[in-house]
């Protein structure tokens, strides 16, 4: 299936969850935030949030600076 990650189209296996997606992208779990279709997904739901064809994923880092 095709999904969008930060405006890039990515081909992904069916039934991929967010945790698998981050592993697939070699992204650390710590310090990352993920939104699916503009909704932030809490980390406790990364393993049970299955991505669907056409989903718009935003992946970004926690910022602490000021």
């Amino acid at each position: 299936m095709k999904i969008q990650i930060n405006e890039q189209v990515v081909e992904l296996a069916e039934n991929t969850n967010i945790e698998q997606l981050l592993a697939h992208l070699n992204k650390p779990l710590m310090g990352s935030a993920v939104a699916v279709n503009q909704d932030i997904i809490s980390r406790s739901h990364w393993a049970d949030t299955i991505l669907n064809e056409g989903d718009n994923i935003s992946l970004f880092q926690v910022i602490a600076g000021g």
Binding site: P28, M30, G31, A33, A35, Q38, D39, I40, S42, R43, S44, H45, S58, F60, Q61, V62, I63, A64, G65, G66
Partner: protein
């Protein structure tokens, strides 16, 4: 009641239907705790003082260094070595002698922070590290005090508002659940002054809107600012029922 000096000083607020004399009086009665006097806290505190927030408490434990001056616009070269909160307090009183400013020149731990929150209507998190952000969030959730969080790095900014006086408000920890986050900060990544200034300025704007009774565009939202494209992205933050800070645990 506003005195004659105040009627003149705040005349541009009084012209606004959304502020007026009622709103200005609400600003005058407001008590805001600003934690962190760096690139966010500088513009936030200057604007809130100018706007007539009646009681401002400033907290930081740092002294001014030459490397701060590139972005922390409350300070000048002759302030180097001085305490950030003392210099800011002086500046705010010079801008607006009608308001009360108090400074706390040390790192607040949970007990003192909790005590301060009993006297605060709203908190601005303008800090520069994840441990402080988690501590402030937890204390605000427990004390049911609304929290406006700003953060910036490189050309990027993040802005969010959680009204912890509301029962089902999500919190910062729902979004970023660990104090050991490999979070980016200004000393390891660099920062452009106007980017952090934009976020601090918007924290002040949201604070003013909160007190005059205007709805916030960032409540339970996370706004991401891209200083290169000037694009904003908006995300909804949902309460995590398993959150160790605000959930049923």
């Amino acid at each position: 009641m506003l005195n004659d000096d105040e009627l003149l000083r705040y005349s541009r607020h009084l012209l606004l239907e959304d502020v007026g004399e009622t709103g200005q009086q609400a600003l005058k009665n407001a008590k805001v705790l600003i934690i962190g006097m760096g690139g966010l806290g500088a513009p936030a505190s200057l604007y809130l003082a100018a706007a007539g927030i009646g009681h401002i408490v400033l907290n930081d434990f740092d002294h001014i260094e030459v490397s701060n001056l590139q972005r922390q616009i409350a300070y000048q070269s002759s302030d180097i070595g001085e305490s950030k909160v003392e210099v800011t307090k002086r500046k705010l009183q010079q801008i607006n002698p009608e308001i009360k400013v108090r400074s706390i020149n040390k790192e607040m731990h949970e007990m003192q922070l909790t005590m301060e929150l009993t006297m605060a209507d709203l908190v601005l998190d303008c800090t520069d590290n994840m441990a402080s952000r988690q501590l402030i969030n937890k204390a605000c959730v427990n004390a049911k005090v609304p929290l406006i969080v700003g953060a910036a790095i490189r050309f990027e900014g993040q802005l969010m508002f959680f009204d912890h006086s509301e029962v089902n408000s999500p919190c910062y920890h729902c979004l970023f659940p660990s104090s050991e986050e490999q979070a980016l900060n200004c000393s390891n990544s660099g920062i452009i002054g106007p980017v952090v200034g934009t976020i601090g300025t918007l924290q002040a704007l949201e604070a003013i809107k909160y007190f005059v009774g205007l709805p916030s565009g960032i409540k339970n939202k996370l706004k991401l600012f891209d200083g290169k494209s000037l694009d904003w992205q908006t995300f909804t933050v949902n309460k995590d029922p398993k959150c160790k800070v605000c959930g049923q645990h």
